[in-house]
């Protein structure tokens, strides 16, 4: 693993499988009565959130606390940032307080990359979502969920997603989740198809390692997993599509469409869902839908990433039981 996690594209196949395997180890911790490891005791991690995202922040925070790290939450609202402080000064101020890792969520694409490469700070940088660029831990938790469901919890260990057909539906243009997933799923050997109205696919997509389709119905029978992306209502006003109803009719997943999927196929969603828009309640609440699992898996994946970036190379759980963290 590298020192930072900025983009899903930075992970090799072996790196990614290693993260998934480590996350399985971490997941076992969650099944214990005491869900805590001493692995990162004495290390300080700041969750530097320039965008509101309660669920991602809480997921990272839970992961950090389960690894016994000291956690600082920094949200840009009401902070020095709202008084005009630059990203550089904010980061340097936090590092001066002895921070070992920065988990950053930022509205500007590339902000975590700048933080990691500009020489402003020395701490490890973990991208928790930047603009419309990347959200690598989301892609990892999605891949983790797919491997568990489509390959198997135990049989999946050490394996990738070779040959699995994954369909990602919705606002690809504005989605860091789609970009991260395309990169990671390709690395893991899956075949990815993006489905969206042409207005919500970026110019330049032709170089991505995936297929693009405008027709959801013909894609569903050939899918092992269908990931629905959130579609923001305000896109309608910018003429990306005519009305919510038309979007739902053409690209929403309802019970009839779900019935066209193979029996083993799962429905995923990074959340938050807009019920009635891209997904109906019947689909969201069905047992084929993995939304809640994805949230649980997110904590395991983030524990694995933090452990691998900060904790060293020895096996996480065994190491944590027997020795003090250096």
């Amino acid at each position: 693993m590298q020192r930072h996690l900025i983009s899903a594209a930075d992970l090799s196949r072996d790196d990614a499988v290693h993260v998934l395997d480590t996350a399985e180890e971490m997941a076992r911790v969650a099944d214990r009565p005491i869900k805590k490891l001493p692995t990162l005791r004495g290390r300080t991690i700041v969750n530097l959130f320039f965008e509101d995202s309660t669920r991602t922040r809480i997921s990272f925070e839970a992961a950090e606390k389960r690894l016994s790290a000291d956690v600082i939450n920094f949200s840009a609202k009401g902070s020095s940032v709202s008084k005009g402080e630059s990203l550089k000064d904010t980061a340097q101020t936090l590092e001066a307080m002895g921070v070992d890792a920065v988990v950053i969520r930022h509205g500007a694409s590339g902000a975590p990359y700048r933080l990691a490469t500009s020489g402003w700070i020395d701490a490890a940088v973990i991208n928790a979502g930047d603009g419309t660029h990347q959200h690598p831990t989301q892609a990892l938790l999605d891949a983790f969920t797919m491997r568990r469901r489509l390959v198997g919890r135990d049989t999946g260990l050490g394996r990738d997603l070779s040959g699995k057909r994954i369909t990602i539906v919705g606002d690809v243009l504005h989605s860091r989740v789609a970009r991260s997933n395309v990169d990671l799923l390709h690395t893991l050997g899956a075949e990815v198809t993006l489905v969206a109205p042409p207005t919500l696919v970026p110019v330049g997509v032709e170089t991505w390692p995936c297929e693009v389709s405008y027709d959801l119905d013909s894609t569903l029978p050939k899918s092992d997993a269908v990931m629905m992306l959130r579609v923001q209502r305000e896109r309608m006003n910018a003429a990306f599509f005519p009305t919510e109803r038309e979007y739902s009719r053409r690209y929403g997943l309802d019970g009839d469409r779900m019935a066209r999927m193979p029996e083993h196929a799962i429905v995923m969603h990074p959340g938050p869902m807009v019920r009635g828009m891209e997904i109906t309640a019947a689909v969201a609440d069905s047992d084929r839908c993995t939304v809640v699992e994805q949230v649980a898996n997110g904590v395991s994946i983030r524990m694995a990433v933090l452990y691998l970036l900060l904790g060293g190379n020895e096996p996480a759980v065994a190491h944590a039981r027997t020795t003090e963290e250096k």
Partner: protein, 428 residues
Amino acid sequence: MSKILIRGARVLGGEPQDVLIDGEVVEAVGSGLSAEGAEVVEADGKVLLPGLVDLHTHLREPGREDSETVLTGTRAAASGGFTAVFAMANTFPVADTAGVVEQVWRLGREHGYCDVQPIGAVTVGLEGRKLAELGAMHESAAGVTVFSDDGKCVDDAVMMRRALEYVKAFGGVVAQHAQEPRLTEGAQMNEGVVSAELGLGGWPAVAEESIIARDVLLAEHVGSRVHICHLSTAGSVEIVRWAKSRGIDVTAEVTPHHLLLTDELVRSYDPVYKVNPPLRTERDVHALREALADGTIDIVATDHAPHPHEDKDCEWAAAAMGMVGLETALSVVQETMVETGLLDWAGVADRMSSTPARIGRAGGHGRPVSAGEPANLTLVDTAYRGSVDPAGFASRSRNTPYAGRELPGRVTHTWLRGKATLVDGKLT
């Protein structure tokens, strides 16, 4: 003023000759000229060009003296071999009145490093709603002939038409920043393969090309001349080529950075590469070079855009757009056009001196290097190669995309009407 003999200079890259300056004019050009009573500059085979003319410079004064002033900007210009620069109107206050353009013009005269020809705003406050007093600016001491809302596009077709028509009365020209505003809302970089990957808002080529197409048709319809600022795409080249073949009176400029750099550099998310119009693709770069060589694009203009360090030392989206360029322009042109065989030095003199002077009606600039002409001259050591060190810039700002990059050529001497502004690479 005393005499200066420049000995053994390759005028426009030709055979070595001597050039004798007497006072403000070139007295003689020939072989074995007498050095009597003259200070001698041994040119030693360096190339002598007419002083360079930049039709597109941001001097930032008044209003943003933290990034550049008329003094520091004209010193940077002299350093880069320029003897005249056209100062863009997007200052604070905007150069939309006779008062502001006269102030900028006068500051240039007082400092004496380089002639400063202010460009007047087309519309009041660059807001696109109301024509500025173009005639008053033309009749002022500054004698404005070039008008531009640069930084913003005159996107209203009627406003553009009226401006094109109106300036015909005094031989003016409108220089258009071609950028369709709706197509570029939130634009951060060239729209294409790289923007798709980086998740940065796209600035599509069509936003430039559609405005250029409209404006050449407007210029044809009302019989006016129009100038296109910083043309950046292969498609724009095709449109200008078509317009010229129809006899439309259009001229166009390209910046040095669009001749050399591509949007691949944006992968670093380093805002030093953030500029408007954005860096385009390899294909565009080649089309621009070809077009500059065949004359479809008339001139090189720097779009020298100084910004303070803090406006670039940040995340991409928060950063200012623009690059400094006066002190590296000639080197980039040597690298991209001369060393590739696309232009000879006479061609460089045409694209960087005589044609910009003609478009902007800068009297006394861009003249031939011959007896009786004003002694606005630039001596270039074309054999030099070195890496760009921003710490050595005369500009107040350091936002260059070339830091550490090796480039050929170095201006060693600049003369403004016979007065040396740069000697052995040092400002006087």
